[in-house]
Subunit: 208 residues, 2 copies
């Protein structure tokens, strides 16, 4: 009886560089799988079915939504994008971790369905400017500062459902931090203790 | 206004190799301080005051206990060993992390006083034998297996107050894991969000 795999969700504001960070994570080989998204948009030149996306027609996608086959989905510019739930559940049941890189709206849907997932928020480096600004005062207009405050406030509000926040000021550093988070998630006492107790129980049953 | 430092507590059953792991952690330079213990035992040849221990007489030690100057302490073979609280508090207030390597009884005292500390349990590799045993059955006597079960059960019961469990089957791996845990602790959403909110508040106050 093996331990269930983790669901790892990487998200963050659009434009933060989620895709770049995700690709960098998988570049050097990792111990978890990537969940390939499904889309109803047309395949672009060079894209491969089952590698870049699972390509479906709009009708097929809508039917899958109705059948509850999407863990999360959204519609952008008339096209659907989403995560097929089956592969996620199967991977976790096999004791393997699975990694999603999705939009914040999608992350909210996942949180509702699988609250025990590991939620990592990728924060834009611009949010750091807040602190830089405090140090190097008086070089920018009030207008610019007000806009920045409003943007930062919005980004901070997005964070509430996440377990961890990683600033994407440098891709390699962000990758290292995300890997550390995943590693330490496996070392949480509840998880390790459960594993030991299970082994102990099996051993005791055998002894009786 | 800087963020408060973390208190990191490494503990585990006696003989698990806490000291070895701790030394390996500090060997290559880290971003946190080591809390030097206090003892009433005699200084041994080669030991340096304020490096290996703070050496006190038994009377001095007992007075410090009465004054509440020990975060935790214990008596072994007529000698006191403990953690001076002042250095721990000062380091945390300076926004710096501080690392304790102590016995499980001491960790319980720390948990009562500073529950928000990060508690890491170093588990003996013998606990792993539980699982190995399940794989390679029938090579050991019932007596040996029963003893092992009893020992493992005791060790598992010790874990309840800890946040993480790291198996010490290989020192370098244990060190890497402990560092990952400390790194990810700093990336917890509550902690990062608080930092941002504080920066935002300062910036807004300035703008008014």
């Amino acid at each position: 009886m093996s331990e269930k795999g983790l669901l790892i969700v990487l998200s963050g504001p659009s434009g933060v560089g989620k895709g770049t960070v995700r690709k960098a994570i998988f570049k050097n080989g990792v111990d978890f799988e990537y969940s390939i998204s499904m889309t109803s948009r047309n395949k672009r030149s060079g894209e491969i079915e089952g590698v870049d996306y699972f390509f479906k027609t709009r009708e097929e996608f809508e039917e899958l939504i109705e059948q509850g086959e999407l863990l999360e989905y959204a519609k952008y510019v008339d096209n659907y994008y989403g995560t097929p739930v089956r592969h996620v559940r199967d991977t976790m049941d096999r004791g393997k971790d699975i990694f999603l890189e999705i939009e914040v709206q999608g992350a909210e849907q996942v949180k509702n369905k699988i609250p025990e997932a590991l939620f990592i928020f990728l924060a834009p480096p611009s949010i750091l400017d807040l602190e830089c600004r405090l140090k190097g005062r008086g070089t920018e207009s009030d207008e610019v500062i007000k806009e920045r405050i409003a943007k930062a406030r919005k980004e901070i509000q997005m964070m509430y459902l996440y377990d961890y926040v990683v600033e994407n000021n440098e891709v390699d550093l962000a990758v290292e931090r995300i890997k550390a988070i995943i590693q330490s998630e496996h070392l949480k006492r509840e998880r390790v203790e459960m594993k030991y107790r299970r082994a102990l129980l099996e051993l005791e049953e055998e002894e009786i």
